[in-house]
């Protein structure tokens, strides 16, 4: 095929960026293939909407293609992409502000405490049903978390970033990251009735 093409799996970040800067469509396809899942998850975690997260990430890739020449490589490509995704999500929020007025959905306040004491890999229909119910309730509660808190949770849970990295990404203090995460966890655990203890 094309001599300038390399194996998509072999290409390193520097090479990819160089090729993107040269406007190679193939490099763009590799970028999409390599990063779409990560970025889609981040966008979904913030928007909590499948279609919107897809649109957001498509816009992220287009923005990257247009602005790759501004990428100074003082941070990694994934850090840059993550930042653009978060910014696009925030723009999306401004654009579709009304969508953030979530419909009120009541949480079935069953106690999920014993759910994870049971074998989580069990094929028992009852356990599977309860697991699904737990996931449903958790997502309802996550929707209700303040967006700032949810962003911290997303970067922690999906990207496994340290408090310092999250702080840098969101331009907040490390202590704020810690307190937002703890406050989110406390709220979720208490609302789901996972623990009898209230501290």
């Amino acid at each position: 095929m094309n001599k300038i093409k390399a194996n998509a799996d072999d290409i390193n970040e520097l090479d990819l960026v160089e090729r993107l800067k040269k406007g190679q469509q193939w490099a763009f396809d590799v970028l999409v293939k390599q990063y779409q899942n990560r970025l889609l998850k981040i966008a979904y975690g913030i928007t909590l909407d499948r279609e919107d997260s897809l649109e957001v990430v498509q816009d992220v890739f287009i923005s990257v293609f247009k602005n790759i020449h501004t990428f100074r490589q003082d941070a990694s490509l994934s850090t840059w992409l993550r930042k653009i995704t978060i910014n696009q999500c925030l723009n999306w929020k401004r654009k579709w502000k009304r969508k953030f007025k979530w419909n009120h959905e009541s949480i079935e306040s069953e106690n999920d405490q014993n759910l994870f004491e049971a074998n989580i890999k069990s094929n028992d229909p009852e356990i599977l049903y309860r697991k699904k119910q737990f996931e449903k309730n958790l997502m309802k509660l996550i929707k209700k978390l303040p967006e700032k808190t949810r962003m911290v949770l997303v970067l922690n849970a999906f990207e496994g970033l340290s408090y310092e990295e999250i702080a840098k990404t969101l331009n907040i203090k490390k202590g704020t990251v810690s307190s937002r995460l703890y406050s989110a966890r406390k709220k979720l655990v208490n609302s789901l009735g996972m623990s009898n203890e209230r501290r």
Binding site: Q25, F28, D29, V32, Q36, N37, L40, K41, Y44, G45, R50, E51, S53, L54, V57, Q58, F61, I62, F65, K66, F116, F134, E135, L138, M139, I142, L153, N156, A157, F158, S162, Y163, S178, L181, Y182, R185, K186, L188, V189, M194, S195, N196, E197, R199
Partner: protein, 154 residues
């Protein structure tokens, strides 16, 4: 099970789960979890929240259609090209008469200046053009024959 742990707070456990405690404290908490069911349960709950949220997102995300993205990209490039063309020809876009008049005035004065044998006239104002948008006045100095183009938006 109902009793609180008096050694570590939930916030400590939250930071432990994220490996954000100082190294010594982290190892102490790790040891503590072997003997404190309450803290162990708390750590498990916090991990569960993250993993269920992550799994949910993983299942929910859609795949990007490469053809659709390429189409979007082509559209963006087309729009960018149009925009850059507009910028190139933008010089003739707005106040075209004023711009043409300015160019004409510059040409006239240049021709006049480079003819060489023009009389050392007493004239100061060579040409003045007034439009609704701006005024251009071309002035020539008497002794040195320097040309000054004066432009003002009205």
């Amino acid at each position: 099970m109902g009793k609180k742990c008096n050694v570590y707070t939930s916030e400590d456990i939250s930071r432990f789960v994220d490996k954000e405690l100082p190294k010594n404290t982290y190892h102490e908490v790790k040891q503590h979890l072997n003997i404190c069911l309450k803290c162990n349960q708390k750590a498990e709950e916090y991990r569960t929240l993250s993993s269920v949220f992550t799994d949910h997102a993983h299942q929910e995300i859609l795949k990007i259609d490469p053809a659709e993205l390429r189409h979007k990209l082509a559209q963006t490039q087309e729009n960018l090209e149009k925009k850059s063309l507009r910028n190139v020809f933008g010089i003739f876009g707005k106040n075209i008469y004023l711009k043409l008049a300015s160019i004409a005035a510059i040409l006239i004065i240049s021709l006049y200046t480079f003819q060489g044998d023009h009389p050392a006239g007493p004239s100061a104002i060579v040409k003045s053009i007034d439009t609704d948008f701006a005024s251009v006045v071309i002035i020539e100095t008497q002794k040195e024959n320097h040309t000054i183009i004066w432009f003002s938006e009205t």
